[in-house]
């Protein structure tokens, strides 16, 4: 399920190195929900452009030596000074920036999880051309110039269901000259729930209903038109009988299920023949599908039984149960491949 790094020597070394870095960061930049950037958690190194600049400065310096050009010495020294001063300015662009982890919204595996962080500045400081990203994630640009704070979403590609603990957030900047890159790796202690990827499928013939196992051949949400009922707030617009409305018969909703028994139990056994993840994905699809229809639905998977119900909170309970099924022991693993 979790791909282990292949143990070629290079990978072993880089794996060892990244472990060391992680351990160092854990000790020196510990997890907190609010981090203010300062001397001890900002790192700074020259960029590729900075090295090009250094090369040009060296060229000018050597020319100055060979042609004995005093002013070219001056130019080279001015460039060196600018380069050195740029350290302070780039550092200053991150310094005193407060980054607060607000949290992430639940997503389905394979989607991009969006974590919200709050950037706060102190009066008198501006933070321009900030770049925020998770390792291997999308880059979010931000400028904190006006206003005391700014909400920023940072995205992270999800792979597996479960609790996704956000890896260390990279906050970096190259401002003002692009010669230095100052960055900080912050563990803001943010988590989000990753539901299984929904996989579309049809229910098998033998379906189980709750309520003492009363058999019924009617599939909820199936194609068989069952009848009309009055529209209730919360009904999906897709199921509105527009033709009846046009005939002046009022707002009706098409019903596809047996209205006499709208309590529906999703069961682990429904998708026999798939592996555990496959079952969870299909259950997830049906939870979503039932949430849009007009039935009470419940869930029965090994170790978890949730009685039928409806509403957003109920849906979230079911999805969470699917996401977390036998997953709690994996929470820590999500951070393993960080950096």
């Amino acid at each position: 399920m979790f791909s282990e790094p292949t143990m070629s020597p290079v990978n072993t070394v880089s794996f060892w190195f990244s472990k060391r870095v992680q351990r160092w960061l854990a000790r020196n930049v510990p997890a907190v929900s609010t981090a203010t950037l300062h001397r001890r958690n900002i790192f700074i190194l020259p960029t590729a452009h900075g090295l090009l600049y250094v090369a040009a400065t060296t060229l000018i310096f050597i020319t100055a030596i060979n042609y004995v050009l005093s002013l070219a010495f001056g130019l080279a020294f001015l460039m060196v000074s600018l380069f050195i001063l740029c350290i302070l300015h780039t550092f200053r662009n991150l310094q005193h920036l407060t980054v607060k982890g607000i949290g992430g919204d639940s997503v389905f595996a394979g989607e991009e999880a969006s974590f919200t962080v709050l950037l706060q500045r102190q009066s008198g400081r501006m933070h321009e051309a900030l770049e925020l990203s998770f390792p291997k994630g999308l880059l979010t640009r931000a400028d904190l110039i006006e206003g005391a704070q700014l909400r920023v979403n940072v995205y992270l590609q999800t792979k597996h269901r479960g609790v996704l603990k956000a890896p260390r957030l990279l906050v970096q900047t190259r401002f003002p000259l692009g010669l230095w890159r100052a960055w900080s790796m912050l563990d803001l202690d943010m988590c989000c729930l990753v539901y299984p990827t929904p996989v579309a499928c049809s229910l098998p013939e033998a379906v189980s209903h709750s309520g003492g196992g009363k058999g019924s051949s009617t599939q909820p949400g199936g194609d068989d038109f069952h009848g009309l009922r009055n529209f209730q707030p919360g009904d999906s617009l897709k199921q509105v009988a527009w033709k009846n409305l046009a005939r002046g018969q009022g707002l009706k909703v098409k019903q596809f299920v047996d209205s006499s028994d709208d309590r529906f139990m999703l069961d682990w056994a429904m998708f026999a023949g798939f592996d555990a993840e496959g079952r969870l994905s299909r259950l997830c699809y049906w939870v979503l599908k039932l949430a849009r229809s007009d039935v009470d639905y419940g869930l029965n998977i090994p170790g978890v039984v949730i009685q039928p119900g409806r509403g957003d909170a109920h849906r979230h309970r079911l999805l969470s149960a699917l996401a977390l099924w036998q997953q709690l022991q994996h929470i820590e693993s999500a951070t393993g491949d960080a950096l």
């Binding site: 040009a56 004995v68 010495f73 407060t98 009066s123 321009e128 400028d143 704070q149 692009g178 010669l179």
Partner: protein
């Protein structure tokens, strides 16, 4: 990671401006077609920017590159692989890069090359204006970098210009420290020099009319500052070359006399000069002449540098002087040279033209010699001849024909110093006295503001040296016999009102030397330029040591690196202090500070917040233990959570107000209860303030 994203639009304008600024001073050195190509490419880039043109296709690019490069090589073929060609190719490369510059990486390459082009300007000129130009160029290039890295609403001209200026100004203290303290190293290898433009100043030939034409020029030749008292004006003979070969019309250096620089360096002639008395030391900064010799006072001793002295006591450099050159000399005013005259030198000093048509002059020489007791007496008689006959000293002498000496001595009798020096030496040689012409400068203008002497082209002069048994070479200036004020006061005093004097200088400050304040201004400006050259342009290892010895005393050399490290660290720390200070006071936002103060109050009541306990859990515990506080505690907690984590609460001023009010009433209640219980000191409340 992401060097490849697009260039902010404003950055492009900055880069174009920077490039134009950098190329500007060298524009006139470029061949016309290259200049047009450069401007064309920049114009094209502007059109692309404006959306009126598209990027050139591969074919067009190939066409431009493969025609421009061979043409450039052809253009410079006659001059060899020189610096000018390299500079041209570099500029072409940069403007071609402009045309295909689409990504950030490309623009950074162009920007870095712009720095290099700024430096190249210094190979041609190191004046104060070019120094200021370079600082401006660096500021604009920095602005381009800022604009490139700032992709937000603040990316406008004013903000970028201000930040760039701020950065450059802040770098200046460190720049000065590095300039003064970084050890200067001798050149690592020889470099191609710019192809010399036309030579200026005194040449190594003297035909009647040559030196008087220099009298039309008010350009500076060199500047001298003496250690101590400057010699009097009539002794300021700046000796250049010895011209000892006469072809009947023109004086030359005899070919075999001139040993090339390398020869002299390898086989220095033994010093045949015998100095007497104390020398005077001085420091010369010479304007570029494109020639290979420099000027000094006889008898000079070279104290430092790459200058050598040939057997005629002339001073030579290895390469043509294309940049201002600074050198130091010591000279003795009393001396004997060549007490033993070698045969080769003697025959050269007696050489006469093979086809000599100056019969009258030769006859005059013989006549005067016959009437003189000895050689010295003869010289006196010749000088008296110049003085007593109606000779005129003029800047505009009439042209002379074949027998130039005869025509001058017997017909025109109007001449500049080269006429007098040439005819004098001829008269000497005609009776077998070794003599030769010396060209150089005489006199100079004293600048009291920086205590130095300025020597101009119109100070160009020619005089004679005559050899006597037991005396060696003795200087005679026949011009002094005709126009003694030329020697005592200077050429300006003689010719101030004569047409032609300084005529080639166009509108020059020199024309206003009679207006007091303008003349002062002129001297002041020259003093600034001189100080710039002396202390900045010619700042080298020696000057560095001299300066540091003033600062640190004897062991300056060892403390150089120490001083460098210390001052760099000091300047960096000061900059860091001013840039990075502040911040600690407002570590938490006001809401959190208020909430923590409340928690402290509650702790004083016996309800401390446990470590790791969230606001909601704490609220529940407090509510359970103190039901009377439950309601307001809950509303405070809800507002706090909303302020810190809520969707719309963050940054809402209204919520902030509400929180502040609720918090205050709750804390007052907590406090009054606590005080009733005698549990809390009143000071706890004031901690919030």
């Amino acid at each position: 990671m992401d060097v490849n994203y697009q260039i902010p639009r404003l950055a492009l304008l900055w880069v174009l401006a920077a490039l134009l600024l950098v190329i500007l001073p060298g524009m006139l050195r470029l061949p016309l077609w290259i200049l047009l190509l450069v401007l064309g490419c920049m114009g094209w880039r502007l059109l692309i920017f404006a959306g009126r043109a598209s990027y050139p296709g591969k074919l067009v690019k190939a066409l431009i590159v493969f025609t421009a490069l061979p043409l450039t090589v052809l253009q410079f073929r006659t001059q060899g692989v020189g610096l000018d060609a390299a500079v041209c190719l570099l500029i072409l490369g940069v403007v071609f890069k402009l045309l295909e510059m689409q990504y950030k990486r490309d623009i950074v390459i162009v920007i870095v090359l712009a720095y290099v082009l700024t430096m190249i300007g210094f190979i041609y000129s190191q004046t104060i204006p070019s120094g200021l130009h370079a600082v401006l160029a660096v500021a604009v290039i920095t602005g381009a970098l800022v604009s490139l890295n700032r992709d937000n609403a603040r990316n406008n001209f004013r903000n970028n210009a201000r930040l760039a200026a701020q950065l450059v100004l802040q770098s200046i203290p460190l720049t000065l420290a590095l300039f003064i303290l970084v050890p200067r190293i001798a050149p690592l290898w020889t470099m191609p020099l710019p192809v010399p433009s036309s030579t200026t100043g005194v040449t190594d030939e003297m035909t009647p009319g040559d030196i008087s034409s220099l009298g039309r020029s008010a350009e500076l030749a060199f500047r001298v500052s003496f250690d101590g008292e400057a010699p009097s004006h009539d002794r300021l003979y700046w000796r250049g070359l010895v011209l000892d070969f006469f072809d009947g019309r023109t004086w030359h250096r005899s070919g075999s006399t001139f040993l090339d620089y390398g020869m002299i360096r390898r086989y220095p002639s033994e010093n045949r000069g015998v100095p007497q008395g104390d020398p005077v030391a001085y420091d010369v900064i010479m304007e570029p002449t494109q020639q290979t010799w420099v000027y000094g006072m006889q008898l000079a001793e070279v104290t430092a540098g790459e200058i050598v002295q040939d057997r005629n006591y002339s001073l030579h450099t290895a390469t043509p002087i294309t940049q201002r050159l600074r050198y130091q000399l010591r000279s003795w005013s009393a001396f004997h040279t060549d007490l033993e005259l070698p045969r080769a030198l003697r025959s050269r000093a007696l050489q006469m033209p093979e086809e000599d048509s100056n019969t009258q002059s030769a006859a005059l020489a013989r006549e005067l010699r016959a009437a003189s007791a000895d050689d010295m007496d003869y010289v006196t008689r010749v000088l008296r001849h110049y003085r007593e006959q109606p000779f005129f000293y003029t800047l505009n002498p009439p042209l002379l024909g074949e027998a130039s000496i005869d025509e001058f001595l017997f017909q025109t009798r109007e001449g500049f110093c080269e006429h007098y020096a040439g005819s004098f030496v001829y008269l000497m040689r005609a009776v077998g006295i070794p003599a030769r012409v010396v060209v150089g400068y005489h006199g100079g203008e004293y600048n009291r503001f920086e205590d130095y002497t300025m020597v101009y082209q119109y100070n160009a002069h020619a005089w004679a040296e005559v050899w006597f048994e037991g005396e060696g070479w003795v200087r005679f200036d026949p011009t002094g016999a005709v126009a003694p004020e030329r020697i005592s006061q200077g050429v300006e005093a003689v010719f101030a009102n004569q047409p032609g004097f300084m005529e080639d200088s166009g509108f020059s400050m020199m024309r206003f030397r009679d207006t007091q304040w303008l003349n002062t201004l002129r001297l002041r400006l020259d003093a600034i330029d001189y100080a710039w050259n002396r202390w900045v342009v010619s700042y080298d290892q020696d000057l560095q040591l001299e300066f540091l010895e003033d600062l640190f005393g004897e062991n300056a050399r060892s403390s150089l690196l120490w001083a460098l490290g210390m001052s760099t660290a000091l300047i960096f720390s000061v900059a860091a202090f001013f840039l990075l200070r502040g911040g600690q006071r407002q570590l938490r936002d006001p809401a959190t500070r208020g909430y923590l103060a409340l928690a402290a109050d509650l702790a004083a009541m016996g309800l401390p917040r446990r470590t790791g306990e969230g606001p909601l859990d704490y609220c529940a515990r407090v509510s359970a233990e103190r039901p009377e506080l439950a309601e307001s505690m809950q509303s405070v907690t809800m507002l706090y959570v909303q302020l810190c984590y809520g969707e719309q609460g963050v940054g809402s001023e209204q919520l902030r107000q509400e929180f502040r009010m609720t918090l205050q009433t709750l804390r007052l209640r907590v406090l009054s209860r606590a005080r009733r219980a005698g549990l809390v000191a009143v000071s706890a409340f004031s901690r919030q303030r």
